[in-house]
Amino acid sequence: MNMKQGQSLWNDAWRRLKNNRMAMVCLGLVIFFTLLAIYGEVVYRYHEIKDITPAYQMTNLDQMYQPPGSSHWMGTDGLGRDVMARLVQGVRIAYKVGIITSLIAIPIGVVLGCLAGFFGGKVDDFIVWLYSTFASMPGLLFILAIAMVVPGKGLLGVYLGIGLTTWVGLCRLVRGEVMKHKEQTYVQAAKTLGLGSGRIMFKHILPNISHVIIVTFSLRFPAAVGTEVIMSFLGIGVQGEPSWGLMIDSARMRLWQGMWWEMTFVTIALFLLVLAFNLLGDALRDALDPRLND
C-alpha cells in the first residue's frame, strides 16, 4: 500500500483503471473519436470563415455510388460525396448532441434528484410533481416546442430541447439512490460531525452513487444520436451538415440496391463509439468502487 491521501478517490480510481486493459482500449477509442470531433469542428469553422464549400459537401455526379476503393476508402454516396469524409464530419454532430445535451440534462437530474431524495417532504413532492409533468408530455412535442421558441437557427434549440426533457429518468434514479443512502449510518455519522446538508449530499453521498450518473452518460449517446435522426428528418435539426442520422436515413433507401457501404461504415462507427463509451463507463464505475477490486 503506498502512502497517499487527499484526492484519493480519483487517484485510486485512475490506478485501477490503468490496470484494466479493455478500459484502456476504450479510453483510446474515446480519445480518438474526440480528436475526430475536434478535427471536424476545425474543418467546419475553417470553411465557414473562408466561405468555401468543404470537400465533404462537393457533389460529384460522375462518381455516384462508387464502392470502397483506393480513391474513396469507404465509397461515395448518391451525390458522389466521399463517405469517409462525411463520416468523420458526422462525429462532430454526434458529439455535440451527445455531450451538450448531457451537460444540460445530467446536472439538472442530479441536483433535483439529490434534493428530492435528501430532504423529502414538500421539496420531494414538488420535484416529483415536476418530473411527472415532464414525463407525461410526449418528449418530441416538447423538444419541438422548445426548438421553436429558442431564437435563431441552428442546433441550440435542439440541445435545449433534448437537454431539458431527458433529465427525468436520471432524476428518478438519483432520488431513489439518495433516499437509500441517507438512511445509512455513515450519513448519520457525518451529521454528528456537524456537516451541512449540501456537503453531505454532494461530497459524501454523490460519490457513492456516481455509477448511476456514469452509466446514464454512456447510455445517452445512442439515444442522442437517435433523437438527432428524428429531428433532422423533421427539419429542425441539423441542416445541410453531414450527420450520422442523415447518412443512415439516406443510406437506408439504397441498401436494397446493394449500396451497402454507407450504411455499414456509419453503423460500425456508431457501434464503436457507443461500445467504447459503455465499456469505459462500466470500467469507470468499477474503478470508482474501492470494494470491488484492489
Partner: protein, 264 residues
Amino acid sequence: MGNKENILEVQTLSVHFGHGDGLVKAVDEVSFTVGRGETVALVGESGSGKSISALSLTKLAPRAATYAGGQVLFNNENMLARSDRELRDIRGSQISYIFQEPMVSFNPVFTVGWQIEEAIKLHQKGVDRKSEVDRLLDLVHLPNRLATAYPHEMSGGQLQRCMIAMALACSPELLVADEPTTALDVTVQREILNLLSELSEKVGLSVLMITHNFGIVSDLADRVYVMQKGRIVEEGSTKQILYDPQHEYTKQLMAAVPRLHPKK
C-alpha cells in the same frame, strides 16, 4: 439554572413521536447530568429511549420526532433553543458521537484518513491536517499507514478506533458513545473500553455511555442511570447500583448479563 460542575444537564426532556392516539413518548421527562471529566452510563433495553435521548442532545433525533418539553443544558446553554446553523458548529467540535456499528459508520468510498481529515477541516482552520491525522491515529494506538486504508479493508475493532479518532478530531468536551462495543467481539470490546477510559483520563473527556450491558457499566462508568420505556427508573453511583439495585428492572438487566459460570 445549571451547575458549573456539570458539562451536561438534561432537565425533564420529552421527545415524542406521532400524535393523538398514536402518540409515543419515546423520552418522557428524563433528567440526567454529566459532570466534567465524568463517565456516565445510560442503561436500558432496546426501545427504552436511550439512543433517542442521546441524539436529542444536539437535535439529531429522526425528523418525525418532536421535542415536547424540557431542556438540554450544555455548558449552561439550552441546545434545543439553538438554530441548526449553531448546532452544526457544536456537533463534532464540542459534542461528538460514536456509534454501534463501526463497519457502516464510514463512507465506503473514501479512505479513513480522508474522513478523519474531513472532520478536522470542518472545525479547525489552519492546522496541518496530515500530521493531525497521524497524531489522532497514535492516540487510538493505530499505525499511521492505516490512514490510506478503506473501511472495508479494516476490522471492526480498527474501525471503531478510527471512529473514536474522528470523534476526538476537534477535541470535544463531551463524547456520546452509543453502544460502542455491541457489534464487536468480546476481546475487542475490552480493548475499546480500555481505550475509552484511558482517553477520558488523558484528555479530560466527559463521556455519556449508552449501553444495555451492565458488564460494560461496571468497568467504566462513575454513575449510572437506568432507563425503561422512556423514563429513568433508577440512578446512582455505579457501586450503589451494582451492589444494591432497588428497582426490579435494574435487577433484571443485571441478571441478563451472560456469565461464564452461572450460579446454581
